[in-house]
C-alpha cells in the first residue's frame, strides 16, 4: 500500500473515533444528562433520537424514564391492636426531575435505599395508628353475602364483617401522601403505594388458627343441635298428627254409628208402636223368642200343672172359659 492511501485510512479512522465520541443515541426509555468535569451542563435530554456532545470532555449519564417499581422488603410490625403482622408492600415511582435526582442520588441504588427508608417508616407509622381490620378491608358498607348455613348463625362472629373507618385503600393513599413531599426533593414522583401481602406473624397465626377452629366447632355444634331440634319437632308433629287423625276418626265413627242406632230405634218404634195390639203382640213374640234363646239343656225348669202349658196333664180337657 502506498503511504498516501495509508494516511487517508488513518484520517478516516480518526474521524470515526471522533464521531463515536460525539454522537450518541437516546432511546425512548431514557433521560440523558451530560456532565463536564463532573458538573451537569445544559438541560437533561428527554427526547429520543441522535444527539451530540463534545468528545472526551463531556460525559454521558443515562437515567430511566419509565415508571419504576419499588418492591418493599417484607417487614414485621405491630398494628394498633397489638397484632404482629408481616407486611410486604410495593410502590411505583418515576424520575420526574432528572437533574435533582442526578445531583442528590446519582444512581438507582441510592434511590432505592431512600425509598426503603421513607416508605418503610411511613408504612410503620400508619400501620401502628390503625387496627388490623383497617388494613384488610376496603369497602366500608359492604355486607357479607350469607349462605343458608350462616343465616341461622346471625349474632355469632362468623356471620359478619367487622366495621371499618378508613380501609385499606385509604391507608395506602395516606402512606403515599405522607411520603410524596419527602421524595419530591429527590426528583422522585411517587405514583402509588399498595400493600402486596399482609400476613400474621407465625406466633400470632397459631392463635388465629385456634380461634378459627373454635369458631368452626361452634358452627358444627349448631348444625348438630339444629338437626336434633328439627328431628324432635318432626317427631312431635308426628305424635300430634297421629292423635288428631285417630281422635277425629273416633268422633266420626261414633257419630255415624249413633245416627244409625237412632234411625234403627225410630224404625223399630214406628213398627212396634203403631197400635195397642201391636205393642202387646211385640211383648208376646219377644218373650217367646227369649225362651228359645235363654233356656238350654243346663236349665232346670219347675213347671206347675196349674194353668199354662201343663194344665191338660191333670185331665182338665174342658175349654177353660167357654161353656
Amino acid at each position: 500500500m502506498k503511504p498516501v492511501s495509508l494516511l487517508k485510512w488513518a484520517f478516516l479512522l480518526g474521524l470515526f473515533i471522533l464521531f463515536s465520541g460525539t454522537a450518541f443515541v437516546v432511546p425512548e426509555t431514557d433521560y440523558v444528562i451530560l456532565t463536564q468535569f463532573g458538573k451537569p451542563v445544559g438541560h437533561p435530554i428527554a427526547t429520543a433520537g441522535l444527539h451530540f456532545k463534545l468528545p472526551w470532555i463531556q460525559e454521558m449519564h443515562r437515567l430511566e424514564k419509565r415508571v419504576l417499581e419499588w418492591d418493599g422488603p417484607s417487614a414485621e410490625m405491630p398494628t394498633k391492636d397489638k397484632l404482629y403482622i408481616v407486611l410486604d408492600s410495593f410502590g411505583r415511582w418515576r424520575i420526574k426531575d432528572p437533574l435533582a435526582y442526578f445531583l442528590r442520588l446519582r444512581d438507582e441504588r441510592s434511590a432505592r435505599s431512600r425509598l426503603d427508608d421513607i416508605l418503610g417508616s411511613e408504612t410503620r407509622n400508619t400501620v401502628a395508628r390503625h387496627a388490623l381490620v383497617e388494613l384488610i378491608r376496603t369497602t366500608k358498607l359492604r355486607k357479607a353475602i350469607l349462605d343458608e348455613a350462616s343465616v341461622n348463625a346471625s349474632g355469632t362472629a362468623a356471620a359478619g364483617l367487622p366495621p371499618i373507618q378508613i380501609g385499606r385503600v385509604g391507608l395506602e393513599e395516606e402512606i403515599a401522601e405522607q411520603s410524596r413531599a419527602k421524595l419530591a426533593e429527590f426528583g422522585i414522583e411517587l405514583l402509588d403505594v399498595r400493600f402486596k401481602r399482609i400476613n400474621y406473624n407465625p406466633a400470632v397465626s397459631s392463635k388465629i388458627f385456634d380461634r378459627m377452629v373454635s369458631e368452626r366447632r361452634q358452627i358444627a355444634e349448631r348444625f348438630r343441635s339444629e338437626g336434633a331440634g328439627e328431628a324432635a319437632r318432626i317427631l312431635g308433629s308426628k305424635d300430634r298428627d297421629l292423635s288428631q287423625i285417630e281422635s277425629e276418626a273416633y268422633r266420626k265413627v261414633q257419630a255415624i254409628q249413633g245416627k244409625a242406632d237412632a234411625e234403627a230405634t225410630a224404625i223399630y218404634a214406628a213398627a212396634y208402636n203403631q197400635s195397642p195390639e201391636a205393642r202387646e203382640f211385640y211383648g208376646f213374640t219377644r218373650t217367646l223368642e227369649t225362651y228359645r234363646s235363654a233356656l238350654n239343656r243346663d236349665t232346670t225348669v219347675v213347671l206347675t200343672t196349674e194353668g199354662g202349658f201343663l194344665r191338660y196333664l191333670k185331665g182338665d180337657s174342658q175349654p177353660p172359659h167357654s161353656p
Binding site: 443515541v25 419509565r66 357479607a144 348455613a149 402486596k196 401481602r197 358444627a220 224404625i267 213398627a271 225362651y291
Partner: protein, 324 residues
C-alpha cells in the same frame, strides 16, 4: 493435460490488494442488504425505533429497515395469551415469569373477618399496546404480578372466610378482574387482562379438619332430619288409612243397622197383619210351637202340682245336677 507439476510452471499472479478491498466492500453490501430485511412472526408485532426514536409498529411478515443498527426492531408477541400463576406453579412452563418462587407466601391471605385462607389463582392477559408495554413501565411483568397480588388481597379482604371458600368465588373473580383492569389502565402497562380465575381455595392445613367437621355436622343434621321424616312418614299415612278404614266400617255398621231395623220392622208388620186376623189362635200356636221347641232341650224338668208345694224343699236338685 497437466503432465508436469513442477513449481516452475505455477504461474502465481502478484497479490492485488485492490481485490481485497473490493471483496470486503461486496461482503459489507451483502450483509447490509440482509440486515435491511427482518421477518416478524405471525403472532407478534415489531416495534421500530430509528436511532432510539419510536417510529411505529411493524405488522407480521417481511419488513424493511435501515441497516447497521440505525433501525432497531423489537418483536413483541401481541397475539399470544399469556398467563401468570399465583400460589402454585405448573411444571415445565415456557414462560419463566409464569410462576413465582414463593407460592406459599402468595397464597396465604387474611380475610375480612380476620381469618386465614389459602387462595390460588391465575391471571390471563395479552399485550395490547406494544409501544406502551416497552416504553411506559420498566418490567411490566413484575408490576402486573405485584398488582394482581395486591388486588386479590383487597378483594378477599372484603369478604368473610365462608364467602371466600364457598359461595363468593364467582364474585371474587369478577371483582378482581375489574380491579386489575382498572389498575393496569392507570399504570399504562399496555396489557389487557382477559381473565382472573380462582383455582384451589382452601383453609389453612391447621384448621382444615375443623372445616371438614362443619361439613360433617351439616350432613349429620340432614341425616337426623331425614330419619325423623322417615318416622313421620312411616306412621302418619298408615294412621290416615286406618282412620279411613274405621270410618268405612262405621258406615257399614250404620247401613247394616238401619237395614236390619227395616227388615225387622217389615217382618213384624207382616206378622202383625196376620195376627190381627186371628189373634187367639195365632197366640196359642206361637206359644205351643215355642214350647215344643224349647222343652225337649231341657234335661231337668220338674213338674209340680199346686197342692204338693211342700215337697219342693226335699228335691235333691244339687246332687242331680252334679251326677249328670
Amino acid at each position: 493435460m497437466a503432465k508436469n507439476f513442477n513449481s516452475a510452471e505455477w504461474n502465481l499472479p502478484p497479490i492485488d490488494l485492490g481485490w481485497v478491498w473490493r471483496g470486503a466492500a461486496v461482503l459489507l453490501a451483502v450483509s447490509a442488504l440482509f440486515s435491511c430485511v427482518t421477518s416478524i412472526p405471525a403472532d407478534s408485532d415489531g416495534v421500530l425505533t430509528r436511532l432510539g426514536h419510536f417510529q411505529g409498529i411493524l405488522k407480521p411478515g417481511l419488513q424493511f429497515r435501515l441497516p447497521f443498527g440505525i433501525d432497531r426492531v423489537v418483536v413483541v408477541p401481541v397475539q399470544r395469551q399469556l398467563k401468570l400463576e399465583f400460589g402454585f406453579g405448573t411444571a415445565g412452563a415456557s414462560n419463566r415469569e409464569q410462576a413465582s418462587r414463593e407460592p406459599d407466601l402468595e397464597q396465604s391471605m387474611v380475610t375480612g373477618d380476620l381469618n386465614m385462607a389459602l387462595v390460588e389463582w391465575v391471571v390471563q392477559y395479552r399485550i395490547e399496546d406494544p409501544a406502551k408495554y416497552l416504553f411506559q413501565v420498566r418490567d411490566p411483568g413484575a408490576t402486573l404480578r405485584a398488582a394482581s397480588e395486591s388486588i386479590m388481597r383487597e378483594v378477599v379482604g372484603d369478604r368473610t372466610v365462608d364467602e371466600v371458600l364457598t359461595i363468593g368465588r364467582q364474585d371474587i373473580e369478577n371483582d378482581a378482574l375489574l380491579g386489575l383492569k382498572k389498575l393496569c389502565d392507570r399504570y399504562g402497562l399496555g396489557l389487557s387482562i382477559m381473565q382472573v380465575q380462582l383455582r384451589d381455595v382452601h383453609p389453612p392445613r391447621q384448621v382444615q379438619a375443623s372445616f371438614n367437621e362443619v361439613n360433617q355436622a351439616q350432613q349429620e343434621k340432614e341425616q337426623s332430619i331425614n330419619i325423623a321424616n322417615g318416622e313421620y312418614n312411616k306412621a302418619v299415612p298408615r294412621a290416615r288409612g286406618q282412620a279411613d278404614q274405621k270410618l268405612r266400617e262405621a258406615e257399614g255398621y250404620a247401613l247394616r243397622r238401619v237395614n236390619e231395623a227395616r227388615g225387622d220392622a217389615e217382618r213384624y208388620g207382616a206378622l202383625l197383619a196376620e195376627y190381627l186376623k186371628a189373634p187367639e189362635v195365632t197366640r196359642q200356636r206361637l206359644y205351643l210351637e215355642t214350647m215344643a221347641d224349647v222343652l225337649p232341650k231341657l234335661e231337668r224338668k220338674i213338674i209340680l202340682d199346686e197342692k204338693a208345694g211342700q215337697i219342693l224343699p226335699l228335691l235333691p236338685l244339687d246332687q242331680k245336677t252334679k251326677t249328670k
